[in-house]
Symmetry: C2
Subunit: 567 residues, 2 copies
């Protein structure tokens, strides 16, 4: 393709996206200078009172209850969320594929089924679900942030989409990602930049940033993202959501598009993102109960384990011992995150649990090993996908190169590791050996905490920040130190919201002794005024393939937090 | 190391092995010309009547019952099996590490525990267990067929050994392997060649060939092998045993030595080998119940699923539909194997099950993809381990290069694929993509059999040969076509004995149209006279991580076979 043609291609595709929006759903958008746009759905006048009631029903179980009883039809629920998603699109640019007619046609089928049989199709009956721009749907492009992927419709649905249909859901929109997927922000040449609805000067995180912005706007009751280095959890904590990173292959990835397809050393996983924990549990359990291993050969044949959900191995949820990792010794978290951990500790103690400190174990080594694996092809995969159209490989998420004093989007990896090196299969095997040793070391370390918990068990779960910062200005989120560990060690991890940044409470501390370039840069990034009012979330880390237990423990922490706020 | 020094090193180590045998356990060995040595333990006079009674107790549950009641002490059981193992060693050369005193000391501890507490240590209380020469034990070498690995004692037990101790077992001997582990026979420069006790002119298979010969001699009630391309199943069928190939990481491999350590595309797995099915179930369940995921970070957190073992998803074991794959369209099985499949079909039909034909699906493609992955380092790992001592990389398992008209140990891979190529990490990822597509294709193909089974389910299990030949002359076993598929697709597979070759019944058919070099060579290899009397086994293939169901289904087939023979 001739140089510059890719820009034309992108512009045409973006125009086509605009055309796919029903004209009557276009609103008067607020001025660009307006940071917080969360109230636009309430104020713009597009949604009826009933549509506002529907879309403000943030509990997925409640929504599904109304749908199952036919109190609300799937057509009206889907219409309501679609309109709100289109509002979200106009203020945060969170969508990619828009297909109103197809979604409503599906919703009519669902409604008809209930009317004819008196029964729901399945446990997700009638629920509109948004999908990150990797989950292929028959006949639609899966552009995934590459100009070169425009105009290549999928021949079939990916397994997740097949299963969602079988479970009664209504996949209704797809959401934006960064080029390559390997950024904790959301920008590409085709669909542009997604912004954070809490403050559009800020990134919603990434790579599932479209989902983060959309779900935060209540433009979708449940979104599905993916996570290979934090891509579900970063947008979840940046946008005030609940988001689960399951273990490798617990949920079916088969048929979804991806970067570095075939890289199986540290696998990307898919996970739900919602406004309340009910949706995370409902989605995860529904998919597992439908036996994904009969459709995805890599999916783990482990039925939902109710005894694990009842925390049989964690003292039945009574008198547990949590550990808080205040700092991973690589980059120091910002003040609002420290306060969120203090709140969580107090809430758990008030609920009768013990909370001890987690001393970090080999974080930098784990991070380095992970980054070397991700870079094992020397960027060949990314460049090849760019070459399809001639678009350049994006080197920064910064809207203006000189926007910030500290080049925070220069990953620490480049300082510590140099440029990624295209290595041999044999060298990759050596990295696997190293990774396996690190996993064993961390597991033994965790098991050894049995000596200090007082419960007779090792620490039940670790709680820490998912990112050292909260949602930050575009181009400044380069930290994946806290998230990556869970991908490398394949630990089930659940991001959850705790509070909001408060300029009175979260004052900037004096400089500490910086451990590295990024620790220093992250310190300087913090400004109590700029970050005021943004969501602050943490992550709860459990064991590999312990989805049931991690969901239950995070729900327990969430209840403790809510009880503590009331008290 | 200077040239030739490796030979001296090997000779010294072999002499040291001989010295580790108590002098009084040395027997008058039969002449080399005697093929079948199975009766030597009964006739050589070393074993007392009680020791013969103990070692002829082939049912592991029965043995464990006596041990738990203290009817037989662990010391006497271990002594009996050790003596018989040493007999097996003298006639088949099946052992590597011999450590009588240490094993007996352990047995004394076990006995003392029962005496003091009245309780067993665990579900494998007092049972001597033999281990393939990969399962490291603190203070002992893990030579694994490499001269260069002599004199490098392990710093700690591997996780399997740790767990066996916790379960009450007595690891008592380690067993021989081929150099590199990547052969279906058993020969290396340090410990030499292991022979098949049914006919020492024949190979016991490999790479867990030491286990095959030892367990067939009743020199161990239960052996643990490993399988990356058939290495549990080949010796199991060649030696008339039951042998399970579980799915990746169901049982804990952590800390065991291996070839190509770090190759995680197609993982080696460990599995039990025994004379009756009870041992396979007992071992597998005991390990899983002990939660290996708390010690091995890669072990799958899937508790033993009793409902799967009760065949809840397979019609509770009533009126099932099995499929027999008579031929994989790559290499045609020998006549005794065809007859074994006919026997199995008749037995299953007599037991009320349906048996249909399995039409092979993309076997050659799967094989080629697998071999390319195994060769992705261009043999670098093997050569590096040879270079440690200067020993040459073994190129053939043939004792004399011109022993056979057809060069059966020239793997078909070399004809079809050329020499292995040292590829890049990126190219390896492309092989993973291909592999994933093949797995998906095979899964969908299997699921689609729902249309023809008449049970409302897909085919419950596939039954086919593990190898196209039965135990064959040394240097002629090059076939891994039937086994490799299960490693590549990660299908749980269980090898089981059916009958013995019979020169009257298993006559050589006229030549068929040969598909390739190996198909032709395997055809010519068959001689009804030579193979007469050797064990004939098959394998039952189930789904990924379906150990419970595959164990139950194979037990069901085994019962049907026994009932059929009686009838």
């Amino acid at each position: 393709m001739a140089a510059k043609d890719w820009q034309k291609l992108c512009a045409e595709r973006k125009e086509q996206q605009l055309q796919s929006i029903p004209k009557e759903w276009l609103i008067q958008t607020p001025p660009e200078s307006q940071g917080n746009v969360l109230d636009v759905p309430e104020t713009c006048g597009l949604l009826t009172d009933r549509e506002l009631e529907i879309t403000n029903t943030v509990d997925v179980d409640a929504l599904l209850g109304k749908l199952a009883l036919g109190e609300w039809s799937s057509v009206e629920v889907t219409t309501a969320f679609y309109k709100r998603a289109i509002i979200a699109q106009q203020v945060t640019n969170c969508l990619t594929e828009i297909f109103v007619e197809q979604a409503l046609a599906r919703a009519r089928v669902v409604d008809e089924h209930l009317k004819q049989t008196g029964k729901t199709i399945g446990p997700l009956h009638g629920l509109p679900i948004s999908l990150k721009d990797q989950f292929s749907m028959k006949g639609k492009d899966t552009i995934m942030g590459y100009a070169g992927w425009i105009g290549k419709p999928a021949e079939q649905d990916c397994v997740l989409v097949e299963m969602l249909y079988d479970l009664g859901a209504v996949p209704f929109v797809r959401t934006n990602v960064p080029q390559t997927l390997m950024w904790g922000e959301t920008y590409n040449h085709v669909f542009g930049r997604t912004t954070n609805p809490y403050n559009r000067y800020m990134t919603p995180g990434g790579s599932s940033g479209g989902e983060g912005a959309l779900v935060a706007m209540r433009g979708s009751p449940l979104g599905v993202g993916t996570d290979i280095g934090g891509s579900v959890r970063i947008p979840s904590v940046f946008c005030g959501l609940y988001g689960l990173r399951p273990s490798y292959e617990r949920l079916p990835y088969q048929g979804a598009m991806n970067s570095q397809l075939g890289q199986e050393s540290i696998s990307s996983v898919l996970g739900p993102m919602t406004v309340t924990p009910a949706g995370v549990r409902r989605f995860t359990r529904a998919i597992i109960d439908a036996k994904p291993w009969n459709r995805d050969p890599l999916a783990v044949r482990k039925p939902w384990n109710q005894r694990e959900y009842e925390l049989e191995e964690h003292g039945h949820g009574i008198g547990m011992c949590f550990a808080i990792m205040w700092d991973n010794d690589v980059v120091k978290p910002h003040p609002p995150l420290i306060r969120a951990m203090e709140i969580t500790k107090a809430a758990l103690e008030a609920a009768g649990h013990k909370v001890i400190d987690w001393i970090p174990h080999r974080h930098l080594e784990i991070y380095q090993n992970t980054e070397r694996i991700f870079g094992a092809d020397g960027g060949h995969d990314f460049r090849a996908d760019c070459e399809l159209s001639g678009e350049p490989l994006i080197q920064t998420m910064s809207p203006t190169e000189d926007a910030h004093e500290y080049a925070l989007d220069q990953p620490l990896a480049k300082v510590l590791l140099g440029e990624p090196e295209h290595i041999s299969a044999f060298k990759l095997w050596q990295l696997h050996k190293e990774k396996r040793d690190l996993r064993k070391s961390h597991l033994d370390y965790w098991e050894a905490t049995k000596a200090v918990t007082g419960t007779g068990r090792p620490v039940d779960a670790i709680i820490n920040p998912a990112v050292a910062s909260i949602a930050c200005p575009h181009g400044t989120n380069s930290d994946a130190f806290y998230t990556t560990m869970c991908n490398s060690l394949d630990l089930t991890t659940y991001a959850f919201p705790v509070t909001f940044a408060d300029k009175e409470l979260d004052v900037k501390p004096p400089p500490h002794q910086f451990r590295n370039h990024e620790d220093e840069a992250i310190y300087h990034l913090y400004d109590a005024e700029i970050f005021h009012g943004l969501p602050v979330g943490l992550q709860l880390i459990g064991r590999t393939l312990e989805e049931e237990g991690v969901i239950a423990m995070t729900e327990l922490v969430d209840r403790a937090l809510k009880a503590h706020k009331v008290a």
